[in-house]
Symmetry: C2
Subunit: 391 residues, 2 copies
């Protein structure tokens, strides 16, 4: 055993910082020096939380609703979330299966901690949200990232999952729409992956945190497939409540008790003011505002996607949702991190390098977030164009 006094646990060697943070810090120092920076690296909506949600939060505070809630959340919020699935997807979900969590982060942590024994494998797509790996490593599990590309819309498919399956495989984690690619998994593939988990005594976890932010076709949920899978969602993205830290998980009935028991112990409960505010998230007035914002995101995507392709970035799989474009920049560089740093330094445009999303050709990829207005996006594209002329 390493007996150095100030050592860290070995798992910390596997936990990477967000590389974009260094870039962001540099962007902020440039801004502090008076430079204009176009932010296309930020993974949260630029919109403030919608007014009806803010008002509900203010009312809760003024009414002194600041005590702990039950570990699984306010019963009224669990019921409202269940009703949302009924309204949107015609599904009847028992509110008892809805567990309100401190962000989708809290949900992912609960699910992985309840399911994964040391040495067990969770299959996931690469590129993907980097924290997913860490929730698995944290409890001694083994995240196995499967390289995916445009041919499968940057999503897992049943064939790849079957090839990767070993006796240690316990969970398949699918994110749809995906961060960083904005792409959806094909419903047929998801169904087949679910069947595979059934046959192999595994479980399916579907991250739907960008669910409402869809610009083609109609939004769906994996819960239409079955009730023996976990669905993770969030008030952060579509509902615009990032800083409030509120999400949820729909668990198979048999897992509600252990998830509740763990939540009691490691979180006590999610934020009470946030939960009261979120009760207003499903009101018609709020949904009207969120729909307008979705249209704004769609316009941004419809501008940015062809503009980046025009500049020579390859975006072979059209992103249908979220607020990200995942661009192949191999025409310009195989060092996307250096490219990002130069682009920031020379033109004041911040984008996220591929290395924040895994090990699948990270040097040839960039993530552009359209979490800023269209005027800024246009300015960003102009600056990018000037940058590329000299690159």
């Amino acid at each position: 055993m390493d007996k150095t006094r100030f050592k860290t646990a070995r798992r910390m060697q596997d936990i990477q910082p967000f590389h974009v943070m260094k870039l962001l810090a540099h962007a902020r120092s440039l801004e502090a020096g008076g430079r204009s920076i176009i932010h296309m690296e930020v993974g949260e909506p630029d919109f403030e939380t919608a007014a009806p949600i803010i008002r509900a939060g203010v009312r809760a505070l003024e009414a002194g609703l600041t005590h702990y809630t039950p570990a699984c959340g306010l019963p009224a919020l669990r019921a409202a979330i269940a009703r949302y699935y009924s309204d949107q997807y015609g599904l009847s979900i028992d509110p008892g299966r809805v567990i309100v969590t401190p962000g989708a982060s809290g949900a992912l942590q609960l699910v992985m901690s309840v399911l994964i024994d040391p040495g067990e494998v969770v299959l996931m797509a690469d590129p993907g949200y980097p924290c997913n790996r860490n929730f698995v490593s944290l409890v001694g599990g083994k995240p196995v990232a499967i390289a995916v590309g445009p041919e499968s819309g940057y999503q897992l498919n049943a064939e790849r999952v079957e090839q990767a399956w070993t006796p240690e495989t316990r969970v398949v984690l699918v994110s749809s729409p995906s961060n960083p690619t904005g792409t959806l998994i094909a419903p047929g593939e998801l169904r087949q992956i679910h069947q595979l988990t059934e046959q192999r005594n595994g479980l399916l976890v579907v991250d739907e945190i960008y669910q409402g932010l869809l610009y083609e076709g109609s939004s769906s949920t994996a819960l239409t497939l079955a009730d023996d899978l976990f669905v993770i969602n969030s008030f952060s993205k579509y509902f615009g409540m990032t800083g409030w830290r509120l999400g949820w998980v729909i668990a198979p009935e048999v897992y509600v008790e252990p998830v509740d028991r763990l939540a009691q112990n490691i979180f006590l409960a999610a934020s009470t003011p946030a939960q009261h505010a979120a009760l207003a998230a499903f009101e018609p007035e709020t949904l009207t505002i969120l729909e307008q914002r979705r249209q704004a995101f769609r316009q941004r995507r419809d501008y940015l996607l062809p503009a980046l392709r025009e500049l020579g970035f390859e975006i072979p799989a059209t992103p249908q949702g979220a607020f990200y474009l995942y661009a192949n920049c191999a025409a310009f560089t195989d060092d996307s991190y250096g490219f990002c740093m130069d682009l920031l330094e020379q033109q004041g445009v911040a984008v996220t390098p591929g290395r924040d999303f895994g090990n699948n050709q990270p040097g040839q990829h960039l993530r552009f977030a359209y979490t800023t207005g269209i005027t800024k996006l246009k300015e960003g594209v102009e600056r990018l164009s000037r940058f590329l002329e000299r690159y």
Copy 2:
């Protein structure tokens, strides 16, 4: 490997629910049926969050401050916390060592995850806060509870720690004031335990979440001893912000980077509205209110402690802080859980059984919380007296 599809991870076998929850659910069903219940089981202050903090929260919401903060917290809040240590204890703490967390729960999780490898041991007192064990188990560590009694004020001492130390021991966790006993660790013992951790290449973690709630002597912090230990604190108890879920950790400088890196990944950040609200927690107007509340808690303790002793409960070590009395009920029963259930059923008084705090004579102990007003406490004592007459 157990290949049952709907199994849970083995760690879940070690994670106990709060037994008081079952009792609480029964209390609520009795209340719903019209029964009057005196609540002496609740581990949170009955006071609402102080008005200046509420107002700061409302202002933050109305100003649209709902986006993510940096993972370690708002720089202004980290600075305010550091200033608090300067004002209260004359200590100069670098704000860079202050990491704002989603409750003390988040702080405990970060610290244990950064420090503990599978198989490594964390020493802690029994009775103690039950979740402490689980933060260790969650990452594969081994919580070792040392039975403590009134002779050491229900706290660890250097002799017991030295006896329990093995090559696997990595951390000693001390809680002062303690939940459930309200007792403080003697400063000399804490100093010796710290020296022992230095000699043995271990680390000391001190949970000070009840720090401000002290009724004898003057409040202190382990940070006066050294800067190579972790201190965990919370806005929940003294500052009355339970449902907001906000706490902090002061980490040794060398651990700030890994704690930050893990916080980025597993939490993203603590609640933004809560952090803005907490900026008002250290203002003189707020501290005046909190001081009045501390006096109210003191009056309650000064009433309840002799009243329970009068009834025949043994409380040999006088609790100097928090809002708990840990009573030996061996004169009446060795089944404290059954005693609690009967007491609730027959007299409508809810208290917490010893089994929620460990395995050290749990059947002979009860925790009384004075988180309700003195009139209710008096009524509770009268009912207890009637209950004991027939027991």
